[in-house]
């Protein structure tokens, strides 16, 4: 019996050591929580900043599109038929009065004036897909939830 008591006494920890362990464990948990919170805050803040940038850029695009339309209309007004005729008259030009004023000559390689081709911007060859990466839209919890509910997907997998 004595030997058992001695053995227990020899391997039991001192009360102050138990307290330190508890406090250590508590602090470890606290640090972990702080870390997760910090990462979450960081990711959320970045996402919010980028979101604001996107909203701002959208407005910029809209403004630029309107500005383009304005400039195009202004240019068309400045080069309208009436304006050009008035400017030509100011510069001393006048319409051809008779056929005698026109001389036709053969110009080798001359290509007849062609009708204006429409400026077709390249059309998307594939059906439209979302180009905004989930990294900019997904919160940390969304990401965790996705991983939890998609256990088959390895964490290292790169999604298109």
């Amino acid at each position: 019996m004595d030997s058992v008591q001695r053995f227990t006494q020899a391997y039991s920890q001192a009360p102050w050591r138990k307290q330190v362990q508890l406090i250590g464990l508590f602090l470890l948990g606290l640090i972990l929580v702080a870390l997760v919170a910090g990462v979450y805050l960081n990711v959320t803040a970045r996402a919010a900043t980028i979101g604001r940038s996107i909203q701002g850029m959208r407005n910029t695009i809209e403004n630029l599109e309107r500005r383009n339309a304005d400039l195009e209309s202004q240019l068309a007004g400045l080069t309208s038929n009436g304006e050009m005729q008035a400017r030509a008259t100011e510069l001393g030009f006048h319409p051809i009065d008779s056929e005698e004023q026109v001389f036709y000559i053969v110009v080798p390689g001359y290509v007849e004036r062609q009708a204006a081709p429409m400026d077709a911007s390249p059309a998307p060859a594939l059906p439209r897909v979302k180009t905004l990466s989930p990294d900019y839209t997904q919160s940390l919890f969304d990401w965790l939830r996705e991983r939890v509910f998609e256990p088959a997907a390895p964490l290292s997998e790169v999604k298109p």
């Binding site: 959320t44 996402a47 919010a48 900043t49 980028i50 979101g51 604001r52 996107i54 909203q55 959208r58 403004n63 599109e65 309107r66 500005r67 339309a69 304005d70 195009e72 209309s73 240019l75 068309a76 007004g77 080069t79 309208s80 038929n81 009436g82 005729q85 319409p95 051809i96 008779s98 056929e99 026109v102 036709y104 053969v106 007849e112 004036r113 009708a115 204006a116 081709p117 429409m118 400026d119 077709a120 911007s121 390249p122 059309a123 998307p124 439209r128 979302k130 180009t131 905004l132 900019y136 839209t137 919160s139």
Partner: protein
């Protein structure tokens, strides 16, 4: 730790745990309660909003890429009610600069801000210039009254400007009857704007715009409306409008139309008509187009064409083999058909003629006889092949089909065959007549008239192509009638002739019927012609309504054709016939 402090800590722990448990229970209860939906809706209301994105309306260009219809920025002026300091100043400023109703603006700007009254629209379609003046005024007031402690000091605080696009027409009146216009609700009226409204307007989409930047979502790329390139040549259109205006002034005609078409393709190069409207001020429509004036007479006004119709009658007779150019005819000045007596335009008898002479002197008696020889069945079958009485399918809004009475109709009589032969008792539109005559200028092939050359939609270009809608006559007949008409103009030394270019054509003078018959002295004077005859590149139709200086097409319309073609050949880079043939032969 003493017993006492242990008890205190235990109590505090239990209390905090109970509070935490209470919070959790409340959370679960609220989540499951019927009010949860209300809370969710409240949350959603502040998280963003549904916004309808209206794509920019497609642009319209002429065949060389000059902008005829574009867009420009205008502003909606609103007020943030919580920021308003002096509604009276706002009302006065908007009334003076924008022309808004003072009382309405004052009432809107005076509203007390609340959860349901945050922002009010005061005016819309405010121009950039007006917006700048309002902003300048606001800045000047801020500077002038910055030290004032008066709560009611003059101020435009609270004004907001929301930009959006509005249709603009840089060429103003030019080709206005072809283009049509767009109202402030974005709907196209008349012309191309109405005909292609759905294409030009694009497809608006309603998307969710989150207010929370954390929930930013990609806005779908909404393509603008389709853009159109027209077959209209801006320079030709402008010249034709100027020539038409001049012709109206010199002839005293009430209205007029000049139509220029490429007979090989059906492309309309110019469609000048009156009245015209500065499309940037479309609200003057009712003032300019006094009821019941059609917006575009070239497609919407049917009338009796008169003698220009004889080219179709003679083509039919030649095509059916009823007559040849040298078939003799003795003109006694009178022809009776179905009980009706037909006389010539001058009431005279022109004696021995051939078909060339009949066309040259525009003899009603001869053409009525020709139609009688062709027979009603063949005559009307050919007229229908020419598209008379049917829509041409021109890509413009508001086309009317005209009227061709045919045997079997309640109001058709045999006499109609005689009068129809010289363009009486039948109504056509200018575009219909030009389409029919395109067969004569294009080896017998009749083409659909069109004003749209290509469409740019969602990054793809769709080119329209010439459409042959029928071959009412053979190529041989087309050449014969063209030669006859060219010769008749030359023999007659018509004022329609253009130096250096051989053209074929026919004048027309039609009495205008009234409800009591042909009792009015007013006429429709016209001329239709094409050239160069060996390779027709243009087909021009002139129509002057009710000229006062002379009723005759040969006097008032033929010179207009001459003027139009003289300018047209320069603008189209068409060398004179001898130069062209020399160039083709490589000499």
């Amino acid at each position: 730790m003493t017993q006492e402090s242990s008890w205190r800590y235990t109590t505090l722990g239990l209390l905090l745990s109970a509070m935490a448990l209470f919070i959790v229970v409340q959370m679960v209860r609220i989540q499951l309660s019927p009010q949860a939906e209300v809370f969710r809706d409240q949350g959603n209301a502040y998280s963003g909003g549904w916004q309808t994105i209206v794509p920019a309306r497609g642009e319209i260009f002429d065949r060389w890429g000059h902008l005829l219809a574009g867009n420009t920025t205008v502003y909606e002026v609103g007020v943030e009610l919580s920021e308003v300091q002096n509604p009276s100043t706002i009302a006065l400023a908007l009334n003076a600069i924008v022309g808004a109703d003072h009382d309405e603006v004052y009432a809107a700007a005076s509203q007390e801000p609340s959860s349901t009254a945050v922002y009010r629209v005061l005016a819309d379609f405010v121009t950039e210039d007006q917006k700048t003046r309002l902003e300048q005024l606001a800045g000047e007031m801020d500077v002038a009254y910055q030290d004032s402690k008066d709560q009611k000091r003059p101020s435009l605080a609270g004004l907001r400007f929301v930009p959006h696009l509005q249709r603009s027409y840089p060429e103003k009146e030019l080709a206005s009857n072809v283009l049509g216009f767009v109202n402030r609700q974005g709907r196209g009226f008349f012309g191309v704007e109405e005909k292609f409204n759905d294409l030009l307007a694009g497809t608006p989409q309603t998307v969710w715009i989150p207010a929370d930047p954390n929930r930013v979502e990609e806005i779908p790329d909404i393509p603008p409306g389709a853009s159109l390139t027209l077959t209209i040549d801006r320079a030709v259109q402008s010249e034709m409008e100027a020539i038409l205006d001049q012709a109206l002034a010199t002839s005293g005609a009430e209205n007029g139309t000049i139509l220029v078409m490429d007979p090989r393709t059906g492309e309309i190069l110019a469609m000048a008509t009156t009245p015209r409207l500065d499309l940037n001020e479309y609200w003057r429509y009712a003032e300019v187009f006094v009821n019941p004036t059609p917006f575009n007479r070239a497609v919407s006004k049917a009338f009796e064409p008169g003698s220009v119709f004889k080219v179709l009658t003679m083509s039919t007779a030649l095509d059916t083999g009823t007559v040849k150019p040298n078939t003799p005819f003795l003109d006694t000045g009178v022809f009776e058909i179905g009980g009706a007596i037909i006389h010539n335009w001058d009431g005279g008898a022109w004696g021995p003629q051939d078909m060339l002479g009949c066309m040259q002197h525009s003899l009603n008696v001869c053409l009525a006889w020709v139609a009688s020889q062709v027979g009603a069945d063949q005559f009307y079958a050919h007229m229908q092949k020419f598209g008379i009485g049917h829509l041409t399918g021109v890509d413009l809004a508001g086309e009317v089909p005209g009227r061709l009475k045919i045997p079997g109709d309640n109001d058709w009589y045999e006499a109609d065959l005689g009068t129809n032969a010289f363009g009486q008792g039948v109504s056509v539109t200018p575009v219909q007549l030009v389409t029919a005559v395109s067969a004569l200028a294009n080896d017998g092939k009749m083409v659909t008239p069109r004003v749209v050359k290509s469409v740019l939609d969602k990054g793809r270009v769709y080119n329209t192509s010439p459409q042959v809608v029928g071959m009412p006559i053979t190529a041989e007949t087309a050449h014969k009638i063209t030669k006859m008409l060219a010769t008749s103009l030359e023999v007659e030394s018509s004022v329609a002739l253009v130096d250096g270019y051989q053209v074929a054509g026919k004048t027309g003078t039609a009495e205008i019927p009234t409800p009591l018959g042909y009792t009015s002295s007013a006429t429709n004077a016209s001329f239709i012609g094409w050239g160069p005859v060996d390779d027709p590149r243009f087909l021009v139709y002139i129509w002057l309504e009710k000229p006062t200086t002379s009723p005759w097409g040969s006097v008032v319309a033929a010179p207009v054709f001459h003027d139009a073609v003289e300018r047209l050949v320069v603008l189209m880079n068409l060398p004179p016939d001898n130069v062209r043939k020399r160039l083709i032969n490589g000499q």
